[in-house]
Subunit: 420 residues, 4 copies
Amino acid sequence: MRNSKYNKKKIFNDPVYGFISLPFDLIFDIIEHPFFQRLRRIKQLGLTHLVYPGALHTRFHHAMGAMHLTMKALDVIKSKGQKVTKTERKATLIAILLHDIGHGPFSHALEYSIVGNVTHEDISSFFMQRLNEEFDGKLTLAIKIFENKYKKPFLHQLVSSQLDMDRLDYLRRDSFFTGVSEGVISSERIISMLNVEESNLVIEAKGIYSIEKFIIARRLMYWQVYLHKTVLSAERLVVKILARAKELALDSEELFCTDALRYFLYQNHDRNSFENNKDTLVRFSELDDFDITASIKMWQNHSDPILSSLCKSLVNRNLYKIDIRKKAFSKAEVDMHLNKLVSATGISGKEASYFIFTDSIKNNAYNPKKDKINLLFKNGEIKDIAEAADQLNINALTEEVVKHFICYPKQIMVDNLKNK
Amino acid sequence: MRNSKYNKKKIFNDPVYGFISLPFDLIFDIIEHPFFQRLRRIKQLGLTHLVYPGALHTRFHHAMGAMHLTMKALDVIKSKGQKVTKTERKATLIAILLHDIGHGPFSHALEYSIVGNVTHEDISSFFMQRLNEEFDGKLTLAIKIFENKYKKPFLHQLVSSQLDMDRLDYLRRDSFFTGVSEGVISSERIISMLNVEESNLVIEAKGIYSIEKFIIARRLMYWQVYLHKTVLSAERLVVKILARAKELALDSEELFCTDALRYFLYQNHDRNSFENNKDTLVRFSELDDFDITASIKMWQNHSDPILSSLCKSLVNRNLYKIDIRKKAFSKAEVDMHLNKLVSATGISGKEASYFIFTDSIKNNAYNPKKDKINLLFKNGEIKDIAEAADQLNINALTEEVVKHFICYPKQIMVDNLKNK
Amino acid sequence: MRNSKYNKKKIFNDPVYGFISLPFDLIFDIIEHPFFQRLRRIKQLGLTHLVYPGALHTRFHHAMGAMHLTMKALDVIKSKGQKVTKTERKATLIAILLHDIGHGPFSHALEYSIVGNVTHEDISSFFMQRLNEEFDGKLTLAIKIFENKYKKPFLHQLVSSQLDMDRLDYLRRDSFFTGVSEGVISSERIISMLNVEESNLVIEAKGIYSIEKFIIARRLMYWQVYLHKTVLSAERLVVKILARAKELALDSEELFCTDALRYFLYQNHDRNSFENNKDTLVRFSELDDFDITASIKMWQNHSDPILSSLCKSLVNRNLYKIDIRKKAFSKAEVDMHLNKLVSATGISGKEASYFIFTDSIKNNAYNPKKDKINLLFKNGEIKDIAEAADQLNINALTEEVVKHFICYPKQIMVDNLKNK
Amino acid sequence: MRNSKYNKKKIFNDPVYGFISLPFDLIFDIIEHPFFQRLRRIKQLGLTHLVYPGALHTRFHHAMGAMHLTMKALDVIKSKGQKVTKTERKATLIAILLHDIGHGPFSHALEYSIVGNVTHEDISSFFMQRLNEEFDGKLTLAIKIFENKYKKPFLHQLVSSQLDMDRLDYLRRDSFFTGVSEGVISSERIISMLNVEESNLVIEAKGIYSIEKFIIARRLMYWQVYLHKTVLSAERLVVKILARAKELALDSEELFCTDALRYFLYQNHDRNSFENNKDTLVRFSELDDFDITASIKMWQNHSDPILSSLCKSLVNRNLYKIDIRKKAFSKAEVDMHLNKLVSATGISGKEASYFIFTDSIKNNAYNPKKDKINLLFKNGEIKDIAEAADQLNINALTEEVVKHFICYPKQIMVDNLKNK
């Protein structure tokens, strides 16, 4: 198939940055590939739109945005005298474009339920290798940068670090589409202050306030959006739905589903499967929000009362009640809810655990154990942001926050179970 | 089912206006109804996101936005001394909230293919009547206003006219999510200049420039977004896909589909069906973007080469080529393309017409024959905007623009057909 | 004194575009020159802030913004294969940076009153020549481009034409600071569609809707902001104040004023004066909003009742009443007001004409007689926008709109006169 | 003279909020008063525009914006069941409208130099009392609320506290006009979560992240804008200019100045003067940015080399060099600079101290000793934000940050001194 040169100089409309242009033909061809086009059908924020109805943007759009910011960052770094060849530039852009390609629909839900023992990071690697084969090895350097095996670590750090273009794009994009202005960060200002020192990405010292604000914004987005209690409740509902469907499928119950979903429901697939069976990745690539949601809608009428009740709850937005607190929930507290449901509906304790369960979530705003955000001072000195900040001392910045939650059914879920 | 009073005072996040609050419990209950919740799963702009990737917002969000603007408009009108009772306010808000509830997924595609002889306006009415039954007649006044049978026509005009809150919201919202800033209108400024004269909605004369700009913005959005050639190409592809699927279904071919879609594919349903069979509306209400898209994805592997080729083209974004011009395309021009395809692939002429066809689109920016936008001058005089404008004379404003287009296959579609 | 290289790579903060960077040291040096720094003290929109209180932005900021857009436009044009040398780039940026440097404070007011027979365009030329001398001829090419004497007319067209970067910046900037969203134009979108054909600036045909919108936006900004009746009233009040002050000065009355203002009040200076006397331009360069406003504030207490009454009116925002209409005001209508004022206050008819006068304003949205906006079609054809547009026919677009107005005193101005 | 009712329902354009409407005739009349109109001529951020060229907005616009937010806040509080009478509403709005009326031009500069021993808070009180006399006691309740002597402290807290509408407006407005997006706060979101508990303003607990973000945003705006080193340098230059001018004036040197400035330069005025002499306040009310700047421009040519050199530096933006650090500067460090200047120019040590000096600045983001921001939990419990926050522990939030700086002349200032 031919694409004219003209077409490959495509410009994408983006409400966040205005326009995103594609600098290399190879990038155009990767974007056209079905492995990448599928990201058009996978929402970046899963079920967050149940709380923030504008949050329908896709992983496709985020990947384009992160690539756009990386281009800007490379321009800035070059203008400050750092050498970046055209080949390195192309490879870095491909690396960021593909950094999240391994995400499936409702990513964390899948990882918790039907795709076992393999992370989206693994799957990203599988996709990149497969694409590299199809494109005759042209992605080799991109993969090297992605895996941080290239001699210029700052290129990897643009793709993946605590100050990478991934975060810069998703914070701004998620803010834009949710309408939570707290997450707005000045990506342009931060990028203008990037630099490279001894092959590592640093930020000029005058940028300290912007970086602090970026860390805070990220933390707030976590608690206000990504871990919002209603979002959490909805995501756990999908986990339970898929787990129940898989349980039924492995029990040879008939379930409406697309071929791609059938592949993962009726058999167990894990890391090995992806490595040893070429089909697994292709099937995975066919799976998107539409397979899952269309099936869940159909399962509302399935004969299994657990499955149908869970699915009705999601489709009509009658989610679990959820309590969140700092202290873990005791077995007694969970059992109290379980017993109540068992006695009200006559289902088994095991079945009741689809409706009642406890778990925890955690977040740390800045984790200097992973990798540091380094400030470059005018005298050439380099300091970790956590040490350099005026006021936000290292403890405040780096302490992990853990919260525990319990989910239990609303009356309407109980009623649905009883009616069966 | 009980909802606490507290919950019904809900606030919705909206990236366009910030917050949208719900002023009445009844409105909360209508929004919670599955008939309304389904709008969360129907994109406002169908396949426009293939050109403007941000355009994923739903009919749910638009309906909320239009209601929000109507609240503001009623506040302004009241502050200028016009009496609007609480009952009228509630009814008007319900009318605008439900004004578009009859849209199905890929609305125009459906109307052209599987749902015959019934418009989305008809279906909106059916939904309102059904909801009115369920809510014990509490929607009666809203329906009256919607149908323009109430004694205060300005309430209807807020819901449906050339200056209604529907248009004000969709222009702004579609601009926001596409990133086409040309469509940005100052809804706040326009609303602040609304008034009522002899029971009809008017705009104060000083608002003339804002209104002209609004008409122009609407026209530009038509050509730049709603009737964008690639969007048109994609929408026609869905029409052809559904038409082919229906042809096969009526021929008793087995097709993967959800129950709701099956209902409309394997039988013909029209206005009568909606009127005489309670099920038809319920089935329609179950149909959304997910049913259609999940099925199209599966049909890529259907044994019918026409269907599978069309579906692959949509999923991988290999759309029809499309030429647009002012002059109609002749039969000879169409036949030229048809003959080429028939001889290249061996399919029949009738089958080839799924790939090659011509049609026209039209738009007029302001249609004074339908209803007028009236300006109120300080001396009490009222004039149609088309007469009052300085420069944009009536011809320019009101002339209908018609464009003709022809669709024909890209090489890749031809190749797919051949491979079969 | 030298500025280090580091400093000259300065970045300017701009709420409209984010950041504006300076690409050449020479540009940094020009910006540092007092002739350019004075633009920091001259508001872009004169007294418009009396109606739109945010409109306090300066000619300095606009000049920087127009330069920024010109950089973007040159990048786009280069990326489409048009050759632009570094020298041409630098010269074009300097030309746009200085295109409006000849504006004085309350520009039109000055031209109507104390600086006679010389336009701001003339004065811009004088400034450029003087700067060229100071910078050893380095501005020669910039001046050539500014005067449209260079062999590549598209460079001049970026600086001055019906689609120049001046207009693109001021519409967007004035919209931003006034809050009149009607004027928002998509400068980024328009720039992305610029091209060069036979050395002339053209816009790709698909940009037609953006251009139409740009023309309409400009027209609306004229009537809604630049020629807003209250703005007009205030600007005419300054004209009358300065005219009265000059009348008194030439009559050897003592007036508080800065040295720079004194230079222009107590002597007549015209085009000749600028050409033959090096001091005139320097004195002019010292004049800014602060000289005029501080003097007007002091003149509130001047012994001349005409001057003091006019000044009090401006300072306390008790402006003229103003009527605007399409038909000219007759001598009888003006005399009616004049006679009323004369009999109420006892001032002479000539003095009364400081309070009562008629004049006209005009605007045409698009003037194809001056220069055309040309569209480039895919087949290489070029057409004037006015011919190519669907609907906005040439008459509507190009017709000049003339409005007449009369100013007359509010009661409070009359009272002030009487109290004397 | 009377203004018609119609006029008093005025709507102000505001690029930040869209429109600001005036709810009471009395408020219209206060805004029209010359004491308030003068705020149109006083920039909110003094010389900040030398760094952020968009920052030209005035105290007038900020006062209007803060009033607008207070209206919104009162609406929210009322909608949650708290009683606020129309009289209280009007008084609160007047209190916030006038809360900063005592600011003069370059406020801190004035307080440090020509107006001694009286703060802008004192002067605000003097203005309110004078207005209350003129408006026949109609401001009595507003003054009571302003002074926190009214029985409903939450009204005062809206006007002045760590979460007042003053801060909410200025952070957002200053962000908007500087373009520093870090300062953007979600004023709408914060206001929607306000409530009243035991007559005190509280914020609902779910708003904790928005509040943390607000405190951080404020801190960042301090260091990035309000205490930006170049802004600091410019402000200190004005202080020194005015101090030198006053020194010369008290020494009977003749200086160009407006009458209002003369009043404060040639005599000492302090708190007593304002209290005992009606003229002092009137004279103060005549003083604005234009008096100061026009005079400084003229003083560039004054015969005193200190004054003229300082003034040239400001007008041409050749500011002091400034070093900032955590440790105080020693006398030896200061003397080193002083000696260098004395030996280079021959001026006295005392004169040199106009060019070389050290001082400190400080800021604490949240000061719980002053007043607390209290969170209201669902169980009715109330907690100080500093105790309730997850991670930003009380030390980090409340610690005062002190920085020391030294100013010394650039070479060009030295050269100017020498040339004399």
